[in-house]
Protein backbone atom coordinates (compact mmCIF):
# COMPACT_ATOMS: atom_id res chain seq x y z
CA UNK A 1 0.00 0.00 0.00
CA UNK A 2 2.81 2.40 0.99
CA UNK A 3 4.74 1.51 -2.15
CA UNK A 4 1.72 2.11 -4.37
CA UNK A 5 1.22 5.53 -2.74
CA UNK A 6 4.85 6.43 -3.37
CA UNK A 7 4.56 5.35 -6.97
CA UNK A 8 1.35 7.33 -7.43
CA UNK A 9 2.80 10.47 -5.81
CA UNK A 10 5.85 10.22 -8.06
CA UNK A 11 3.59 9.93 -11.07
CA UNK A 12 1.70 13.00 -9.96
CA UNK A 13 4.94 14.88 -9.44
CA UNK A 14 6.17 13.86 -12.85
CA UNK A 15 2.90 14.95 -14.43
CA UNK A 16 3.02 18.33 -12.72
CA UNK A 17 6.60 18.91 -13.78
CA UNK A 18 5.72 17.79 -17.30
CA UNK A 19 2.84 20.25 -17.55
CA UNK A 20 4.69 23.16 -15.97
CA UNK A 21 7.69 22.62 -18.20
CA UNK A 22 5.65 23.89 -21.13
CA UNK A 23 5.31 27.22 -19.36
CA UNK A 24 9.06 27.70 -19.36
CA UNK A 25 10.03 26.35 -22.76
CA UNK A 26 10.71 29.02 -25.31
CA UNK A 27 8.78 27.19 -27.98
CA UNK A 28 8.28 30.05 -30.36
CA UNK A 29 10.90 31.56 -32.46
CA UNK A 30 11.76 35.07 -31.66
CA UNK A 31 12.24 38.06 -34.03
CA UNK A 32 14.63 40.88 -33.24
CA UNK A 33 12.87 43.28 -35.48
CA UNK A 34 9.69 45.19 -35.27
CA UNK A 35 7.58 45.25 -38.39
CA UNK A 36 4.42 46.70 -39.76
CA UNK A 37 1.70 44.11 -39.33
CA UNK A 38 0.68 42.87 -42.76
CA UNK A 39 -1.13 39.93 -44.30
CA UNK A 40 0.52 37.66 -46.86
CA UNK A 41 -1.61 39.35 -49.50
CA UNK A 42 -0.29 42.78 -48.47
CA UNK A 43 3.27 41.51 -48.70
CA UNK A 44 2.63 39.89 -52.08
CA UNK A 45 1.24 43.12 -53.51
CA UNK A 46 4.17 45.11 -52.16
CA UNK A 47 6.82 42.63 -53.33
CA UNK A 48 8.80 43.48 -56.42
CA UNK A 49 9.33 39.79 -57.15
CA UNK A 50 8.00 36.46 -55.92
CA UNK A 51 9.87 33.27 -56.80
CA UNK A 52 9.98 29.61 -55.92
CA UNK A 53 13.60 28.69 -55.38
CA UNK A 54 15.93 26.06 -54.02
CA UNK A 55 18.81 27.03 -51.73
CA UNK A 56 22.10 25.83 -53.18
CA UNK A 57 24.64 27.47 -50.88
CA UNK A 58 25.01 29.53 -47.73
CA UNK A 59 28.17 31.21 -46.45
CA UNK A 60 28.79 33.56 -43.53
CA UNK A 61 31.73 35.92 -43.39
CA UNK A 62 32.89 39.18 -41.85
CA UNK A 63 32.54 42.40 -43.79
CA UNK A 64 35.68 44.24 -44.93
CA UNK A 65 35.62 46.41 -41.81
CA UNK A 66 35.51 43.37 -39.55
CA UNK A 67 32.48 44.73 -37.71
CA UNK A 68 29.49 42.81 -39.03
CA UNK A 69 28.83 39.27 -40.21
CA UNK A 70 26.74 38.75 -43.32
CA UNK A 71 25.40 35.49 -44.71
CA UNK A 72 25.26 35.04 -48.47
CA UNK A 73 22.50 32.65 -49.50
CA UNK A 74 22.28 31.59 -53.14
CA UNK A 75 19.16 30.15 -54.71
CA UNK A 76 18.33 28.44 -57.96
CA UNK A 77 15.07 29.88 -59.24
CA UNK A 78 12.49 27.27 -60.21
CA UNK A 79 9.45 29.44 -60.91
CA UNK A 80 8.70 33.15 -61.09
CA UNK A 81 5.28 34.23 -59.86
CA UNK A 82 5.84 37.96 -59.97
CA UNK A 83 8.55 40.08 -61.52
CA UNK A 84 10.41 39.78 -64.77
CA UNK A 85 13.90 38.85 -63.65
CA UNK A 86 15.23 36.43 -66.31
CA UNK A 87 18.10 35.20 -64.11
CA UNK A 88 18.13 31.59 -63.00
CA UNK A 89 19.93 32.34 -59.73
CA UNK A 90 19.76 34.98 -57.04
CA UNK A 91 21.77 35.69 -53.90
CA UNK A 92 20.54 37.30 -50.71
CA UNK A 93 23.01 39.12 -48.48
CA UNK A 94 21.51 38.96 -45.01
CA UNK A 95 22.84 40.43 -41.81
CA UNK A 96 23.98 37.94 -39.22
CA UNK A 97 25.66 34.57 -39.05
CA UNK A 98 28.40 32.74 -37.21
CA UNK A 99 32.12 32.97 -37.75
CA UNK A 100 34.26 31.20 -35.20
CA UNK A 101 32.92 31.73 -31.72
CA UNK A 102 31.02 34.89 -32.62
CA UNK A 103 27.34 34.77 -33.50
CA UNK A 104 25.48 37.80 -34.70
CA UNK A 105 21.81 37.32 -35.20
CA UNK A 106 18.54 38.95 -35.91
CA UNK A 107 16.65 36.01 -34.44
CA UNK A 108 13.97 34.53 -36.65
CA UNK A 109 15.44 35.97 -39.75
CA UNK A 110 14.32 33.12 -42.05
CA UNK A 111 16.75 30.23 -42.04
CA UNK A 112 17.67 28.63 -45.32
CA UNK A 113 18.95 25.07 -45.49
CA UNK A 114 20.90 23.88 -48.49
CA UNK A 115 18.63 21.95 -50.86
CA UNK A 116 15.60 23.41 -49.09
CA UNK A 117 12.85 24.98 -51.17
CA UNK A 118 11.16 28.24 -50.39
CA UNK A 119 8.85 30.82 -51.86
CA UNK A 120 10.62 34.16 -51.58
CA UNK A 121 8.93 37.55 -51.48
CA UNK A 122 11.50 40.11 -52.49
CA UNK A 123 11.67 43.83 -51.96
CA UNK A 124 13.78 46.49 -53.65
CA UNK A 125 17.42 45.98 -54.60
CA UNK A 126 19.75 47.55 -52.02
CA UNK A 127 22.81 49.67 -52.61
CA UNK A 128 25.06 46.62 -52.78
CA UNK A 129 22.95 45.17 -55.59
CA UNK A 130 21.25 42.46 -53.55
CA UNK A 131 17.48 42.00 -53.28
CA UNK A 132 15.92 42.48 -49.88
CA UNK A 133 13.37 40.28 -48.16
CA UNK A 134 9.98 41.97 -48.44
CA UNK A 135 9.03 40.90 -44.93
CA UNK A 136 10.66 39.21 -41.95
CA UNK A 137 7.57 37.21 -41.02
CA UNK A 138 6.17 36.61 -44.49
CA UNK A 139 9.19 37.01 -46.71
CA UNK A 140 9.96 33.31 -47.05
CA UNK A 141 7.45 30.47 -47.07
CA UNK A 142 8.89 27.02 -46.49
CA UNK A 143 8.10 24.25 -48.99
CA UNK A 144 8.20 20.58 -48.11
CA UNK A 145 7.64 17.52 -50.26
CA UNK A 146 5.09 14.96 -49.10
CA UNK A 147 6.97 11.68 -48.95
CA UNK A 148 3.93 9.60 -49.86
CA UNK A 149 2.45 11.64 -52.67
CA UNK A 150 5.46 13.59 -53.87
CA UNK A 151 3.38 16.76 -53.81
CA UNK A 152 4.98 19.98 -52.71
CA UNK A 153 3.33 21.72 -49.81
CA UNK A 154 3.73 25.24 -48.43
CA UNK A 155 4.08 24.54 -44.73
CA UNK A 156 4.34 28.10 -43.43
CA UNK A 157 0.90 29.34 -42.33
CA UNK A 158 -0.52 32.24 -44.31
CA UNK A 159 -3.19 34.82 -43.61
CA UNK A 160 -5.30 37.26 -45.55
CA UNK A 161 -4.93 35.38 -48.83
CA UNK A 162 -7.80 33.55 -50.52
CA UNK A 163 -6.64 30.07 -51.45
CA UNK A 164 -8.14 28.32 -54.46
CA UNK A 165 -7.70 24.82 -55.81
CA UNK A 166 -6.01 25.11 -59.17
CA UNK A 167 -7.83 22.14 -60.71
CA UNK A 168 -11.35 23.13 -59.64
CA UNK A 169 -10.91 26.88 -59.05
CA UNK A 170 -12.86 26.35 -55.84
CA UNK A 171 -11.96 28.49 -52.83
CA UNK A 172 -10.71 26.38 -49.92
CA UNK A 173 -9.69 29.12 -47.49
CA UNK A 174 -10.41 32.79 -47.19
CA UNK A 175 -8.36 33.71 -44.13
CA UNK A 176 -5.79 31.60 -42.37
CA UNK A 177 -4.36 28.62 -44.22
CA UNK A 178 -1.78 25.99 -43.49
CA UNK A 179 -0.43 23.07 -45.48
CA UNK A 180 -1.43 24.41 -48.89
CA UNK A 181 -0.31 22.62 -52.05
CA UNK A 182 2.35 24.66 -53.79
CA UNK A 183 0.43 24.60 -57.07
CA UNK A 184 -2.63 25.99 -55.33
CA UNK A 185 -0.59 28.68 -53.59
CA UNK A 186 0.97 29.77 -56.87
CA UNK A 187 -2.42 29.78 -58.58
CA UNK A 188 -4.02 31.75 -55.74
CA UNK A 189 -1.24 34.33 -55.68
CA UNK A 190 -1.39 34.88 -59.42
CA UNK A 191 -5.15 35.19 -59.20
CA UNK A 192 -4.92 37.73 -56.36
CA UNK A 193 -2.21 39.79 -58.03
CA UNK A 194 -4.04 39.94 -61.33
CA UNK A 195 -7.21 41.29 -59.78
Amino acid sequence: MMLSRIILSNKILFFVVFVLSFSFLNCSKSYATRELQESNLDVAKRSEAIVVARCISSESRWNDEGTLIFTYVTFEIQDTIKGKDPKDKLTLKLIGGQVGDVIQTVPDLPAFNEEGEVMLFLGPINKDGYPTLASMKNGALQIQTDIKTGQKIVTTPTSGLEIYREDTEREISSQEAEGVLLEDMIYSLRKALNQ
Binding site: R46, G96, S135
Partner: protein
Protein backbone atom coordinates in the same frame (compact mmCIF):
# COMPACT_ATOMS: atom_id res chain seq x y z
CA UNK B 1 -11.23 6.81 -8.78
CA UNK B 2 -10.98 9.64 -6.27
CA UNK B 3 -7.27 10.04 -7.05
CA UNK B 4 -8.05 10.31 -10.74
CA UNK B 5 -10.59 13.02 -10.02
CA UNK B 6 -8.10 14.97 -7.91
CA UNK B 7 -5.50 14.61 -10.63
CA UNK B 8 -7.93 15.83 -13.28
CA UNK B 9 -8.95 18.80 -11.12
CA UNK B 10 -5.34 19.68 -10.43
CA UNK B 11 -4.49 19.50 -14.11
CA UNK B 12 -7.45 21.74 -14.96
CA UNK B 13 -6.35 24.32 -12.40
CA UNK B 14 -2.77 24.31 -13.65
CA UNK B 15 -3.74 24.74 -17.28
CA UNK B 16 -6.15 27.59 -16.58
CA UNK B 17 -3.93 29.47 -14.13
CA UNK B 18 -2.71 32.79 -15.57
CA UNK B 19 0.86 32.45 -16.68
CA UNK B 20 1.70 36.11 -17.33
CA UNK B 21 4.93 35.82 -15.41
CA UNK B 22 6.12 33.11 -17.76
CA UNK B 23 5.06 34.77 -20.98
CA UNK B 24 8.23 36.72 -21.55
CA UNK B 25 10.63 35.07 -23.93
CA UNK B 26 14.38 35.34 -23.74
CA UNK B 27 16.76 35.14 -26.64
CA UNK B 28 18.73 31.97 -26.30
CA UNK B 29 22.02 30.77 -27.62
CA UNK B 30 20.93 27.20 -28.15
CA UNK B 31 22.27 25.21 -31.03
CA UNK B 32 19.98 22.31 -30.26
CA UNK B 33 16.39 21.98 -29.24
CA UNK B 34 17.20 20.70 -25.78
CA UNK B 35 19.84 23.13 -24.55
CA UNK B 36 19.34 26.77 -23.69
CA UNK B 37 22.02 29.31 -22.92
CA UNK B 38 20.24 32.57 -22.29
CA UNK B 39 21.70 35.76 -23.65
CA UNK B 40 22.62 38.49 -21.20
CA UNK B 41 25.24 41.12 -20.53
CA UNK B 42 27.90 40.09 -18.03
CA UNK B 43 27.72 43.51 -16.36
CA UNK B 44 25.43 46.51 -16.32
CA UNK B 45 24.84 49.35 -16.95
CA UNK B 46 25.68 49.26 -20.64
CA UNK B 47 26.80 52.41 -22.43
CA UNK B 48 25.23 53.57 -25.67
CA UNK B 49 26.63 55.33 -28.70
CA UNK B 50 23.99 57.25 -30.58
CA UNK B 51 23.69 58.64 -34.09
CA UNK B 52 23.78 62.48 -33.88
CA UNK B 53 21.35 62.75 -36.80
CA UNK B 54 17.58 63.02 -36.82
CA UNK B 55 14.99 60.26 -36.60
CA UNK B 56 11.82 60.55 -38.64
CA UNK B 57 12.59 64.24 -38.99
CA UNK B 58 12.85 64.82 -35.25
CA UNK B 59 15.33 64.53 -32.40
CA UNK B 60 16.53 60.97 -32.09
CA UNK B 61 18.65 61.33 -28.95
CA UNK B 62 15.63 62.32 -26.87
CA UNK B 63 13.86 59.19 -28.01
CA UNK B 64 16.75 56.98 -26.97
CA UNK B 65 16.89 58.75 -23.59
CA UNK B 66 13.18 58.12 -23.20
CA UNK B 67 13.53 54.43 -23.97
CA UNK B 68 16.39 54.15 -21.48
CA UNK B 69 14.27 55.71 -18.77
CA UNK B 70 11.57 53.14 -19.42
CA UNK B 71 13.90 50.17 -19.06
CA UNK B 72 15.78 51.70 -16.12
CA UNK B 73 12.50 52.06 -14.24
CA UNK B 74 11.69 48.36 -14.04
CA UNK B 75 11.12 47.40 -10.39
CA UNK B 76 13.57 44.97 -8.82
CA UNK B 77 15.92 45.16 -11.80
CA UNK B 78 19.41 46.52 -12.32
CA UNK B 79 20.00 49.80 -14.10
CA UNK B 80 20.52 48.74 -17.69
CA UNK B 81 21.28 51.90 -19.63
CA UNK B 82 24.51 53.67 -18.83
CA UNK B 83 25.92 56.80 -20.42
CA UNK B 84 24.93 58.05 -23.86
CA UNK B 85 27.51 59.51 -26.19
CA UNK B 86 27.19 60.64 -29.80
CA UNK B 87 29.09 59.37 -32.77
CA UNK B 88 31.34 62.04 -34.25
CA UNK B 89 29.30 62.22 -37.44
CA UNK B 90 25.90 61.37 -38.87
CA UNK B 91 25.60 57.64 -39.57
CA UNK B 92 24.48 56.72 -43.08
CA UNK B 93 24.56 53.70 -45.35
CA UNK B 94 28.01 54.80 -46.52
CA UNK B 95 29.72 54.75 -43.12
CA UNK B 96 27.65 52.58 -40.76
CA UNK B 97 29.83 49.52 -41.23
CA UNK B 98 33.02 51.40 -40.34
CA UNK B 99 31.60 53.66 -37.65
CA UNK B 100 29.64 51.11 -35.65
CA UNK B 101 30.77 47.95 -33.98
CA UNK B 102 28.72 45.00 -32.91
CA UNK B 103 31.25 43.60 -30.47
CA UNK B 104 32.74 46.44 -28.45
CA UNK B 105 30.64 46.18 -25.31
CA UNK B 106 28.21 48.92 -26.18
CA UNK B 107 24.86 49.43 -27.85
CA UNK B 108 25.17 51.42 -31.08
CA UNK B 109 22.02 53.17 -32.27
CA UNK B 110 21.67 54.25 -35.89
CA UNK B 111 18.94 56.55 -37.20
CA UNK B 112 18.32 55.39 -40.75
CA UNK B 113 16.44 58.29 -42.30
CA UNK B 114 16.27 56.82 -45.81
CA UNK B 115 15.82 53.10 -45.10
CA UNK B 116 19.04 52.37 -46.96
CA UNK B 117 20.82 50.94 -43.91
CA UNK B 118 17.93 48.57 -43.27
CA UNK B 119 18.06 47.53 -46.93
CA UNK B 120 21.82 47.02 -46.70
CA UNK B 121 21.12 44.48 -43.95
CA UNK B 122 18.93 42.56 -46.41
CA UNK B 123 15.65 43.65 -44.86
CA UNK B 124 12.71 45.54 -46.28
CA UNK B 125 12.93 49.32 -45.91
CA UNK B 126 9.17 49.51 -46.41
CA UNK B 127 8.01 47.32 -43.55
CA UNK B 128 10.90 47.00 -41.07
CA UNK B 129 10.42 49.56 -38.31
CA UNK B 130 13.57 48.65 -36.42
CA UNK B 131 16.10 45.89 -36.05
CA UNK B 132 18.47 44.82 -33.30
CA UNK B 133 21.53 42.77 -34.17
CA UNK B 134 22.84 41.03 -31.07
CA UNK B 135 26.40 39.76 -31.04
CA UNK B 136 27.36 37.19 -28.46
CA UNK B 137 29.79 34.49 -27.53
CA UNK B 138 28.63 31.13 -28.84
CA UNK B 139 29.93 29.28 -25.80
CA UNK B 140 28.23 31.14 -22.97
CA UNK B 141 25.68 33.49 -24.53
CA UNK B 142 27.42 36.60 -23.19
CA UNK B 143 26.29 39.61 -25.19
CA UNK B 144 29.27 41.42 -26.68
CA UNK B 145 27.52 44.28 -28.40
CA UNK B 146 24.33 45.34 -30.10
CA UNK B 147 23.57 47.34 -33.21
CA UNK B 148 20.11 48.94 -33.33
CA UNK B 149 18.89 50.43 -36.58
CA UNK B 150 15.74 52.53 -36.52
CA UNK B 151 14.03 53.05 -39.86
CA UNK B 152 13.20 56.72 -40.14
CA UNK B 153 11.80 56.19 -43.61
CA UNK B 154 8.57 54.74 -42.21
CA UNK B 155 8.70 55.45 -38.50
CA UNK B 156 6.34 58.21 -37.52
CA UNK B 157 3.78 57.25 -40.14
CA UNK B 158 1.88 54.08 -41.02
CA UNK B 159 0.73 53.99 -37.40
CA UNK B 160 4.24 53.44 -36.09
CA UNK B 161 5.70 55.30 -33.12
CA UNK B 162 9.49 55.92 -32.93
CA UNK B 163 9.62 55.69 -29.12
CA UNK B 164 7.67 52.43 -29.06
CA UNK B 165 9.98 50.91 -31.65
CA UNK B 166 13.09 52.16 -29.85
CA UNK B 167 11.82 50.73 -26.57
CA UNK B 168 11.16 47.43 -28.31
CA UNK B 169 14.59 47.18 -29.96
CA UNK B 170 16.24 48.12 -26.70
CA UNK B 171 14.44 45.19 -25.11
CA UNK B 172 16.26 42.91 -27.55
CA UNK B 173 19.50 44.57 -26.49
CA UNK B 174 18.99 43.17 -23.00
CA UNK B 175 18.38 39.68 -24.35
CA UNK B 176 14.59 39.67 -24.55
CA UNK B 177 12.88 37.97 -27.46
CA UNK B 178 9.41 38.58 -28.83
CA UNK B 179 6.19 37.93 -26.96
CA UNK B 180 3.26 36.46 -28.87
CA UNK B 181 0.70 38.07 -26.55
CA UNK B 182 -1.18 40.56 -28.65
CA UNK B 183 -1.58 38.38 -31.72
CA UNK B 184 -5.21 37.94 -30.77
CA UNK B 185 -6.55 41.32 -29.79
CA UNK B 186 -9.84 43.13 -29.87
CA UNK B 187 -8.86 44.99 -32.99
CA UNK B 188 -7.68 42.37 -35.48
CA UNK B 189 -10.52 39.79 -35.44
CA UNK B 190 -8.10 36.86 -35.32
CA UNK B 191 -9.90 33.75 -34.12
CA UNK B 192 -8.86 32.27 -30.79
CA UNK B 193 -9.31 32.68 -27.07
CA UNK B 194 -10.36 35.90 -25.38
CA UNK B 195 -8.63 38.78 -27.18
CA UNK B 196 -6.39 41.16 -25.29
CA UNK B 197 -7.04 44.88 -25.19
CA UNK B 198 -4.61 46.62 -27.51
CA UNK B 199 -3.49 48.96 -24.72
CA UNK B 200 -2.18 45.93 -22.81
CA UNK B 201 -0.06 44.43 -25.59
CA UNK B 202 3.53 44.06 -24.32
CA UNK B 203 6.27 46.20 -25.79
CA UNK B 204 8.06 43.07 -27.00
CA UNK B 205 5.19 42.17 -29.35
CA UNK B 206 6.86 42.02 -32.80
CA UNK B 207 4.53 44.33 -34.70
CA UNK B 208 3.18 47.83 -34.44
CA UNK B 209 0.15 47.93 -32.17
CA UNK B 210 -3.25 48.43 -33.75
CA UNK B 211 -5.35 51.44 -32.84
CA UNK B 212 -2.44 53.38 -31.32
CA UNK B 213 1.20 52.36 -31.54
CA UNK B 214 2.03 54.70 -28.62
CA UNK B 215 0.71 51.93 -26.37
CA UNK B 216 4.11 50.33 -26.94
CA UNK B 217 5.87 53.10 -25.02
CA UNK B 218 5.02 51.59 -21.65
CA UNK B 219 6.14 48.19 -20.47
CA UNK B 220 3.62 45.56 -19.51
CA UNK B 221 4.10 42.99 -16.79
CA UNK B 222 5.58 40.43 -19.17
CA UNK B 223 8.27 42.88 -20.27
CA UNK B 224 9.10 43.84 -16.70
CA UNK B 225 9.26 40.31 -15.37
CA UNK B 226 11.58 39.30 -18.19
CA UNK B 227 14.06 41.99 -17.20
CA UNK B 228 13.79 41.60 -13.44
CA UNK B 229 14.45 37.87 -13.74
CA UNK B 230 17.42 38.28 -16.06
CA UNK B 231 18.92 41.28 -14.27
CA UNK B 232 17.73 41.15 -10.65
CA UNK B 233 18.65 44.18 -8.56
CA UNK B 234 20.10 42.13 -5.71
Amino acid sequence: MRKIKYLALFTFLVLTFPVFAFSYHILNNSTSTFSFVFLRWSSTPVNLRVDPGTLAGGGGQEIVVGACEVWNSVPNAQQLCGSLTNFSEDITVDNFQSMTSNSNGSIDVVFDETGEVVAALGLSPNSTLGVALVSRNVNNGEIRGVLIVLNGKILGNSNSDPLSTTTHEMGHSWGLAHIPIGGINNSNNVSGLEPIDTSAIPSMFPFNIPDDDEFGRTLEIDDKVGISVRYPSN
